[in-house]
Symmetry: C2
Subunit: 313 residues, 2 copies
């Protein structure tokens, strides 16, 4: 990339210090002073051209936002507070400094967009930029803190718990997989107001992600098809033969990935923002109740395919 | 990749809990209990096929080891203790589960190889695997702790300080850029036994990395060419027309990258493992003393080129 050093200097000018960030990017490592007696949560996620986005369609700002939002959604899934992130860019040689700045701005702005009364912005404190002959790839690692709420794992679901989602699902490929808002504040509010026994964010699709919770918790579930909030996009997909015309709206809601709504279990949740779709059961099988009959709900896999994706060689 | 889930389950079987790692990979984020009152250092680095390694030449174990060792070397550069790492793999579709396991094993084994009386192994606590049509890329983010030694930055060099390197440099392209040992324990021992005013690991080459220290510290330096420990590989390169025959051994030692030795400044270092190559000066210029004359030592840039690297389109 021509102007690589201009880009790196610009990135550095974006850094800020605060009570946790003692030394932001610029040295070999950033230095943080972690709040005393607060748990530290850490994860990492990437976006790859042709898999998670399509660089011929999506703007660099939207691509950058997505990698940060995927990480923020992981924080939401455990009801923790995102604090700081570090990033790597693998940039194609053809990329301009302007394009790279827009990628960075997308990440930065997504980190700022979660700021509210209850949640601070998530700052970028370091990174590495490489230029290569491959396609665009961005990786983001995130550090979060428990901040008064015990991190919610996937293994606490108990028979009798309700199964909830926080929004309509299915058909995210039509655009929402790039534009979703991670449910960071909502997760904190739910965890503060009711008992959440297990939680995950819907990235692989309802059938697979519920399978993760049930496997980890050694339980099963009965899901009521009529209660699943099906997104209009799932219906729209059915009218699009190329993308999803061979599946019903319900199938899209069950198996499409990248909704990034929360899926959780709770014995006592009454929050109107959570939609109850079923109940955890002792028998280790996930059943879908449809038209009065229970049938096994098997994960149909994460089959999110970008239209630009080329067949395997 | 066929067998992707087998690989993910195998990765998970590699995880261990300890006093810091409360919950390793498997949930959305790993949960750590950071030692009270200890600084947290965080960084991230990547290796890209055709830039940092050549997948047609190097083994997956060596490629995995390199991404971890680059991060461990960043920890060495600040004299901090590596604690845990998280990883992303962007895998070509053709990659087998066996190959992916060898990448992972290389990372894991590099994290274990630093373990000694003074230093604990660095554990992998999370990650994300993606399969795409691009080349192999691996990113590793690392968390370290100060553990009793104030992190050493790049900005503390003062006029009169000696300039030191911890080993012979130049010509790493002949193989050492894949096989180096990060100087984690040595950095800790040096920092405990003398005053280190600034430190960096030699990744971009002596001329450029010394420039980073001088820029950050607002100083200059005089480097004595006769004192620079030139690696035999730098001499061997001069006999290889294709790779480096147009440069002298000294030029390779000055400008080649990826030695991963430590470059530091100190007013009082007497450790036999550190080789003094010059002195920090107040005047903001880096000079090379050669045959009795001082000439500006300008960074010739990081020109490490893998033989397989294709020209820019």
């Amino acid at each position: 990339m021509p102007g690589e050093f201009e880009f790196l200097n610009w990135v550095r000018s974006q850094q800020r210090r605060d009570v946790i960030v003692q030394l932001p990017a610029g040295d070999d490592l950033a230095i943080l002073r972690w709040p005393a007696d607060d748990l530290l949560l850490v994860g990492i996620d990437q976006v790859l051209d042709g898999v998670h986005f399509d660089s011929t369609i999506h703007t660099p700002h939207a691509i950058g936002a997505k990698v940060m939002n995927r990480n923020l959604s992981d924080c939401a899934a455990m009801a923790c507070l995102p604090v700081v992130a570090v990033i790597t860019f693998a940039l194609p040689r053809s990329v301009s400094p302007e394009y790279a700045k827009n990628l960075y701005a997308g990440i930065r702005d997504a980190g700022m967009a979660i700021a509210s009364e209850d949640v601070s912005a998530c700052a970028i404190v370091g990174g590495d930029t490489g230029v290569w002959n491959g396609p665009l790839a961005i990786t983001c690692a995130i550090l979060g803190r428990a901040a008064g709420i015990t991190p919610i794992q996937r293994n606490g679901a108990r028979p009798g718990d309700g199964v909830f989602v926080t929004g309509a699902i299915g058909g995210s490929i039509l655009g929402r997989h790039m534009t979703f808002s991670p449910r960071v504040a909502l997760a904190r509010q739910l965890a503060a107001s009711c008992t959440i026994s297990a939680m995950i964010d819907l990235s692989d699709g309802l059938s697979r992600d519920l399978g993760h919770i049930c496997d980890e918790s050694s339980v099963g579930a009965v899901i009521d098809a009529a209660q699943i909030p099906i997104h209009p996009d799932a219906r729209a997909l059915c009218n699009d033969r190329a993308l999803g015309g061979d599946r019903s709206p319900l199938e899209h809601a069950l198996h499409d990935g990248e909704d990034y709504e929360l899926l959780f279990t709770s014995p006592d949740c009454r929050d109107a923002r959570a939609i109850r779709i079923g109940t955890i059961a002792a028998q280790r099988e996930v059943l879908l109740r449809l038209d009065g009959a229970d049938k096994p709900m098997r994960p149909a896999g994460f089959e999110h395919q970008l239209s630009s994706e080329k067949p395997a060689p």
